[in-house]
Amino acid sequence: MPNKPFAITLKPGTSLANLTGTWRTTRPVYLDRMPPCNNACPAGENIQGWLFHAESGDYEQAWRVLVQDNPLPAVMGRVCYHPCEGACNRGQLDSPVGINSVERFLGDEAIKLGWKFNAPATVSGKRILVVGAGPSGLSAAYHLARMGHQVEIHEAGPLAGGMMRFGIPKYRLPREVLDAEVQRILDMGVTLKLNTKVENIALSIKQHGFDAAFLAVGAHIGKRTFIPSGDAAHIIDAVSVLRSMEGEDKPMLGRKVIVYGGGNTAIDVARSVKRMGAEPIVVYRRTRDKAPAHDFEIEEALQEGVMIKWLSTIKQADAGAITVEKMALDDKGYPQPTGEFETLEADSVVLALGQDVDLSLLEGVEGLEIVDGTVQVSGNMMTGHPGIFAGGDMVPSERTVTVAVGHGKKAALNINAWLNDATYQPAPRHELAGFDKLNPWYYSDADKTVRPMLDIIRRQTSFDEVQGGLDETNALFEARRCLSCGNCFECDNCYGVCPDNAVIKLGPGKRFEFNYDYCKGCGMCATECPCGAIKMVAEET
């Protein structure tokens, strides 16, 4: 052993020869968990995914990820009741991320800067009829067009938009926003035929040679209830009122307007007539916390001076006045009459008691099942008649724009599969990234940006939009409040905290991987991962 010092027998070496990975009993693995926002979104948006791009200021990329699922972000950013924010993990830290505001910002940027949808990559040669140009029909048309199908929308009304135009007041959704987003869908090559009511769907499909049809006619018939009334009582339904707001002839409702109902439609009507100078009183048989309307809408209505009589039913309607009976909740929370009556001045009564679907176009179609006035569809959105799919308000579900958009997308995916004699298989859902999966230490505190609200006087008298939008700086701020639940956002924590240098950094956008030769399985990376994108799993023995 020459060339070695006294008593030294081995050449010096590096500890890399010692593969400490053999110590491991559990191994860390990277995974994507389902963020609660995505999980809660009825339109199936990848919210965390588009916020990821918005965080870096790449708004166009964020918008492009967004519109992979939902072609109406500017509309959605105004009218969606954002269940995502209710589910947001950040709500347990300070307050939820203002997802809806950022969505609106992206939608408005797209309109301002004229971003267009990518042209379809393929042409399938298949023709599909979409009945109804509401949110569900437009969404289905968009997704089908993206898949290369030729889509024709038949709309009974004079303009596209459905309930977005004839149900949602202007102060919540300015029409130029709606028009811009509809036009962008039409620019993809979707044909829109207005004033074209489909009288018989089976006949229309046959006559025009469509390969499949998607029905989304909505629910436009106002529900009636029996109210004993004198000859001169003026009773009208809410849908008609809201629809006539769109036209030149504003509805003649008089000064004292009673709105009967406690849903969002009732509140929309009350706020709209307030803006026309009338004095609306909402009459609802139960209490505020039982009302189906969203609480923020009730709050905004009250701020604007809308009167609401809780626990009241209309017993009698006459010319110029109505009689209401006070109610009391019983043990089970149901309203019961008390025998106490009150008379209110009323020039007209607007019934906002829900809506029914006009199902006349389905007559004679075989295999359909209709329950409680809605069309039954299976899990793939197909009715009992092969090739006829349906969605939106005409099928049993929650009736919101967002749900309708989600139906449109889901139906499009299934129609596409059905046309190819296949079955659409959604990707398996990832496990939920609940708050317990996060390490909230790493997120610094920051309040949600509050969108500017229109001054109260202007709100009472004009149809200007009530909520303003975010500007670029606070939209970025808001996006960066996202915790990125369950999905790596490249914070480098795992790379930094590994005592064994067993995490390999793959570079921007490529995330990380583990070096299992040296990983001892201590689990520090998983514990210190802020967003829960690492999981420890037992080693196989």
């Binding site: 500890s15 870096s56 915790l483 520090m524 514990t527």
Partner: protein, 333 residues
């Protein structure tokens, strides 16, 4: 100490790096080109706080000295797990002599470099709390007193861990070790003994003294870099939890360090020429109980034969630290 200078809302600057920060605003540990002073394959236990703390500190010292660095090491876990004959994990010129003389060896290296006219070569000495607060204390005090141009880094895991968890003068009161068993009326380590070496170092009036934990990476890197910019005797005391000796889960090492700081048990501060110049404030204050409960070395204080009065005494020590160093944000700030 401006660690929160970048107001960034997703994770602040609490994470190691972040794709949204400019590269020069990220920590050194987030960079692929960090020197990895201790390489993979070392034999430290799973979740070793000392292995992590040493890489954090020496990588920062390497970066600040332009990779012109020599390290002297006392006997201890760090030496044993990194250099089993004939392997070494060190990717830096490194020397081990005895348990008690790391400070003196480093002093010698610094003197030699001066004689050789190599002022760019910087010297660090490092050891555990045993080699620093007990066995090497005489040499350390001498190095301070002579103001030798050495940065001494102590990795404090509060005991002699690789020899089987014996008590050191840095072991906290009431903790169980092999030599302070949880028996008798006052179980575990005694109160009122032990050394606060950062304060003793400050009493020497040396240019720089700082404490840090493995839970506050940016603070740690800032302090090592700052120390390396200075000359003369400097001392950094890094709190490094030990899963083996403390009886904690291996994945909780950073969490334990964080809780030590957040409870006030381990005050994080820096001092120049004997005066405290900055403290790392507590972000979310917790009671010491929350920090102690996950540690088996304190298990005898909880449960069936609990010692709430002992926990209260430890809380009082933490409260005194908070008062003394001003660890809480002032009201209204």
């Amino acid at each position: 100490m401006g660690f929160q200078a970048v107001k960034f809302y997703q994770t602040g600057t609490f994470t190691v790096g972040n794709r949204l920060l400019a590269p020069d605003e990220r920590s050194l540990q987030s960079v692929e080109t960090r020197s990895n002073s201790i390489n993979s394959g070392h034999r430290a236990c799973q979740g070793c706080g000392e292995a992590l703390g040493a890489r954090y500190a020496i990588d920062a010292a390497m970066a600040e000295s332009n990779n012109q660095l020599i390290a002297a090491n006392a006997t201890g876990c760090l030496e044993v797990f990194s250099t089993p004959y004939p392997e070494s994990s060190w990717q830096v010129p490194w020397i081990h002599s005895l348990f008690g003389n790391a400070a003196a060896v480093a002093t010698g290296i610094a003197a030699a470099m001066k004689v050789k006219g190599r002022p760019e070569v910087r010297v660090v000495a490092q050891g555990g709390d045993g080699g620093t607060t007990d066995i090497g204390f005489g040499c350390l005090s001498g190095m301070f007193e002579r103001n030798d141009d050495v940065l001494y880094i102590c990795y404090d895991n509060e005991g002699y861990m690789n020899t089987g968890v014996q008590r050191s003068s840095a072991t906290p009161p009431a903790a169980r070790t092999a030599t302070t068993m949880p028996v008798g009326p006052e179980p575990g380590n005694v109160f009122g003994q032990g050394k606060n070496v950062p304060e003793i170092a400050m009493a020497h009036g040396i240019p720089y003294v700082a404490t840090a934990t493995v839970a506050d990476l940016r603070d740690l890197e800032y302090k090592v870099r700052k120390a390396m910019k200075m000359h003369g005797a400097r001392y950094i005391h890094i709190f490094v939890p030990c899963p083996l000796g403390w009886g904690t889960a291996s994945h909780d090492t950073i969490r334990m360090a964080r809780m030590a700081k957040e409870s006030g048990t381990f005050p994080v501060f820096e001092a120049e020429y004997g005066e405290v110049t900055g403290v790392l404030k507590i972000r979310r204050k917790i009671p010491v109980e929350e920090y102690m409960k996950p540690q088996r070395r304190f298990a005898h204080l909880f449960g069936k034969n609990a010692h709430p009065e002992t926990v209260a005494r430890i809380q009082a020590i933490a409260d005194r630290n908070i008062r003394k160093y001003g660890l809480l944000e002032e009201e209204g700030n």
